[in-house]
Homo-oligomer: 370 residues x 2
């Protein structure tokens, strides 16, 4: 295999999927996996409850690609732009139940203008449950105003959704349980407010990988979304959601040089392969741009990627560690565990799928773009 390339340990991925499915099933809630991490129809089929879905996507290209693969129940979970409504309508005319999200009256007006007797676009109102990014804050009068405009204007008001993006920011079970309950209670509160105003709200959708794994009670929630858990990564390990041995994705790379007096090993994986994600820089253990394992997947103590250029990665022992630099000659293959699996995977067009013996058993295509 030419390096750098992307390796996927199938048994780890399948274990990650089973674990979350069992957990959500025990809580009596539906599962709508987020496919933005994988962007692969092969992986989508392992994630989704059925070949037809449901699923969540982050781009209309994902919706189009998965629709071409037979998926029929899709949530496009990024606030809708008016200039994207024609692609939404085309997918719906093609038989896909594509649902969109929004958080403003401006967007609601644009959606209503695109609806007619043959075309009622389904909409979830986005709720801001943690101040992380988008959504209407619970208690804001805009919720009812937007809901009413959609319902009376000819759209299908299908419910509410929220994403606890701030659950990535701290670590530990107590924090994550609190975040999960905050996500649930804010979404359910908004759903109840809509219903109290005489508006429909059949769907209450929540989710992030940390909260999906730490929720203890999901009363009032109808479905959970999560994406990065399929591969896991060093950021999720730092948050406390997974073990290093759960990380199913790595970049295979070749040693191309040394600066021995500096303790550097140079490899052929730079930011075009690893991404520039530094999510672990804010965590208790800074993993640089990735943690180094041997070709069989065993971590070399504290060897990390200290810096990246376009096609070069520089490996060194983590600052403050007493570990010795391993002797890795030119041509040695190493595996690099990613900080952020979504960001790393996005640089590759193919997964080399490893079976339990470490042999490549399949190559699964991956797409990117919009």
């Amino acid at each position: 295999m030419a390096t750098p390339c992307l390796l996927l340990e199938r048994h780890r991925m399948e274990r990650n999927i089973s674990r979350l499915k069992q957990g959500l099933s025990a809580l009596g809630v539906g599962f709508r996996p987020h496919l933005k991490t994988a962007k692969s129809i092969d992986i989508a089929r392992l994630l989704m409850p059925a070949a037809s879905g449901p699923c969540t996507v982050s781009t209309l290209k994902e919706a189009e690609q998965f629709a071409a693969g037979g998926v029929r129940d899709i949530l496009y979970a990024v606030g809708i732009a008016p200039n994207k409504l024609s692609r939404v309508a085309a997918l719906r005319r093609g038989g896909v139940d594509l649902c969109i999200i929004l958080d403003s009256l401006e967007q609601a007006e644009a959606v209503v203008a695109a609806c007619n007797v043959r075309q009622r676009i389904p909409v979830l109102i986005e709720i801001d449950s943690d101040g992380h990014r988008s959504g209407i804050r619970p208690g804001d009068a805009a919720l009812i105003e937007v809901g009413r405009r959609l319902h009376e204007g000819g759209a299908e008001l299908r419910g509410v959704m929220t994403h606890a993006g701030a659950s990535y920011d701290q670590a530990g079970a107590i924090f994550l349980r609190l975040m999960a309950e905050q996500e649930r209670s804010n979404a359910v509160l908004c759903a109840e407010q809509l219903r109290a105003a005489g508006l429909p709200c059949p769907v209450v959708s929540v989710g992030s990988t940390p909260t999906a794994h730490f929720a203890q009670d999901l009363r009032g929630v109808t479905e959970v979304r999560a994406g990065v858990f399929v591969f896991f990564d060093l950021v999720m390990h730092g948050v406390g959601v997974c073990a290093i041995d759960d990380i199913a994705l790595s970049v295979l790379s070749t040693v191309i040089g040394h600066q021995r007096e500096k303790g550097w090993i140079v490899v052929d994986a730079g930011w075009t392969a690893l991404s520039q994600d530094r999510g672990t820089s804010r965590q208790a253990v800074d993993q640089g741009y990735g943690l180094i394992c041997d070709v069989a997947g065993r971590a070399y103590g504290d060897l990390v990627v200290r810096s990246v250029n376009q096609e070069h990665g520089i490996l060194a022992i983590r600052e403050g560690s007493e570990s010795a630099l391993p002797e890795l000659g030119v041509g040695t293959l190493v595996r690099i565990l990613p900080n952020h699996a979504c960001a790393t995977a996005d640089h590759f067009d193919c997964y080399h799928v490893l079976d339990e013996s470490g042999r490549v058993s399949a190559n699964w295509p991956r797409f990117s773009g919009w």
Copy 2:
């Protein structure tokens, strides 16, 4: 056009190319443009002295793609891994004068083992002129040892090369002139040492965008490499190499929401479009993840991308600025100037080429990968 997408202002790019070509021509030195930034045969043809080259690449995929487009004189400027030599040999059998680089005896042994009477692989020895990354330090006895092994083992010792990567780290003409002279003098010194040892060294290759623009004397150098200058970017502006008006590349994005009480505008360009490059965070003016312009390309004062998620960018006024947040309604198109053009362009498969009137006059494909 669906957003996010990549815009390229052709007249700015052509002005950037002409400026550097004229400068190097005045210094009496050859030009071997680095195509890793553009990864487009259309742009390669505007950059190279002739359709056959010469050029520099950072991956063998670039070499293969440009060879398919008729380029015949290619320098692969990342230290060679032994497992890549079969692809090097295949390109050379196809009639491409592909030259490789290395900085160790281990690599030299692998190259010599791949050479035979019909196949003398040309090699430049990489010199570390500034402690930035790879290469043999001037004065290290390894230089002659590696050179002799290549020359006597049946490879073609073609010369030396260096890249002043540390020239990105500080700003200002005085610093950049010093860096250019350091790059030149170290490369020329090593070339002279090889020649004094009775070894051939016809090529002395140097380059980085900052040093290529600030070199005042290139005696002893045969060719200069530079890449990012073709588009320029905010990091190069911060270093002092270009004006904002020289930046030819931007990402077109759509406003999809607001968090008005926080002063945030949300757009549909996240790290999948902009990259996570934060090169300006170490500079006098921190541009966040990009500087915002209107659709015609005029910057809105101090409006920058303060944070990115996968498909969301959050715009806000730069910290410390007194500027007012512009009122940009949902659906408004904005252009985002990139911190690092190489990293941003790498997320797109096409350039939308704008003529001087701002009309899209062409779509040029772009590749990525290895």
